[in-house]
């Protein structure tokens, strides 16, 4: 199971890398990148939880959860980008 653990730990590292960057950057786009990386970290943890070796069938529940999470993340990113764009427009007006 060490591979799975490796990925799970990578997920934890990615999550905290993202959180760290989200806290340190103060412009919107880098923050969104950071949050997306964080999300990827969480998803990686979920997916490594699902993996049970090559012989056993995987656990489909975390996969579904990640799929849901992925779509939610894209939606939120799209909204944030739209807000950001409108603010930029106002800056330029």
């Amino acid at each position: 199971m060490t591979q799975v653990l490796l990925y799970a730990l990578t997920g934890a590292v990615l999550f905290m890398l993202g959180v760290r960057a989200a806290l340190l950057r103060d412009t919107v786009l880098p923050r969104l990148l950071a949050l997306n990386v964080s999300g990827a970290g969480v998803f990686l943890i979920f997916v490594s939880l699902a993996y049970r070796g090559d012989s056993l069938p995987t656990d489909p529940v975390p996969h579904a959860l990640v799929l849901t999470g992925l779509v939610v993340a894209v939606s939120a990113t799209a909204l944030a980008l739209a807000l950001n764009r409108r603010l930029r427009e106002m800056d330029n007006e």
Binding site: L17, L49, Y51, E89
Partner: protein, 322 residues
């Protein structure tokens, strides 16, 4: 021992590349570079999903995570031009504090993961989910979870998508489109768009028993729309006016109506009759695909199209028509 570390090698490389790419994307001062690195990160992640036997996710990640997010971020770079960046300086002390905090949290999370995963593969819901598969109406376990066991999550997730798109519509007008593409590109598009639509249809249909499903199909369909917009079709293949509204509503509406409909003869909410579940799921997924695609394309267009009328517009139209 040797052999084990050999089989570990690709995983180690993948993990290291993931972290390296993430780090590079996040620490880059050049936004464009950061975004491109992030897309690469997403694609690498898709490989990791495949490696971890999650082909549905690999597809979704490539299409949605890296693909559409990437497209959204790239097109957002256009907006950044001309805007004033006010990058405040973070003091050294708080930088250290944040680093320390992140390190501690990462260690704690890692520790818990170590504790819970070092043992043999845990059962969790895997067995249960797979054993109920025959009652779910589909043979792809991920689709079974998404549209049957945890269909309610998916319903709400579609609502999340709708909300985000409404937000995009409310906030401002859409971006300027692109100039009409030249003959070469138009020729390519002529081939590419139908192919993408066919692919989306295939993904939707195949989702019942193999990797694929509404989200992957919707994203692929949205990709077709984006290609159209790049070629100069400002509407990106979307319908206008009322039909646009209907296409946004279709997925959730049908989902909800099916969910409520099955309660009429005594079932619980979303409890499909077993004989019907396969077809019901396909119907729901088809509608959802259309809605997801419409939503994603609208998000890419970045705002309210001119054809999206306000209540006042409708009232005025009525006056004009009289």
């Amino acid at each position: 021992m040797m052999s084990q570390s050999l089989t570990m090698l690709p995983d180690l490389v993948l993990a290291a590349m993931l972290i390296g790419l993430a780090w590079a994307a996040l620490s880059s001062d050049d936004l464009r570079r950061g975004v491109v690195l992030f897309i690469a990160f997403g694609l690498l992640l898709a490989i990791v999903w495949a490696r971890l036997h999650a082909p549905d996710l690999a597809l979704a990640e490539a299409a949605i995570g890296a693909g559409l997010s990437g497209a959204l971020l790239l097109v957002a770079l256009r907006d950044e031009a001309g805007g004033k960046e006010t990058a405040g300086r973070v003091s050294q002390v708080s930088r250290w504090m944040v680093d320390l905090f992140a390190l501690i949290m990462a260690c704690l999370i890692g520790w818990v993961l170590w504790l819970t995963m070092y043992a043999e593969p845990a059962e969790r819901l895997a067995q249960l989910a797979n054993s109920m598969l025959e009652h779910s109406g589909v043979s792809n376990p991920v689709t079974a979870v998404l549209l049957n066991y945890r269909a309610y999550d998916t319903l709400l997730e579609l609502v999340v998508v709708l909300t985000a798109v409404l937000g995009v519509l409310v906030v401002g007008r859409e971006r300027r489109g692109y100039r009409q593409a030249g003959p070469v590109f138009c020729g390519l598009v002529h081939w590419l768009v139908p192919l993408l639509i066919v692919t989306a249809g295939y993904l939707l249909w195949v989702g019942a028993h193999a990797p694929g499903g509404a989200f992957q199909a919707g994203a692929t369909l949205a990709a077709a729309g984006i290609v159209l917009r790049l070629a100069g079709n400002d509407a990106a293949g979307l319908l206008d006016g009322m039909l646009l509204r209907w296409s946004l509503v279709a997925g959730i509406g049908l989902f909800l109506l099916v969910g409520l409909g099955v309660t009429i003869n005594g079932g619980l909410f979303l409890q499909y009759p077993e004989a019907w579940s396969g077809s019901l799921i396909l119907v729901i997924e088809s509608a959802a695909t259309a809605s997801i695609a419409a939503a994603l394309v609208l998000a890419y267009r970045g705002g309210r199209p001119d054809g999206w009328l306000s209540v006042a517009d409708y009232d005025n139209n009525r006056e004009v028509s009289r």
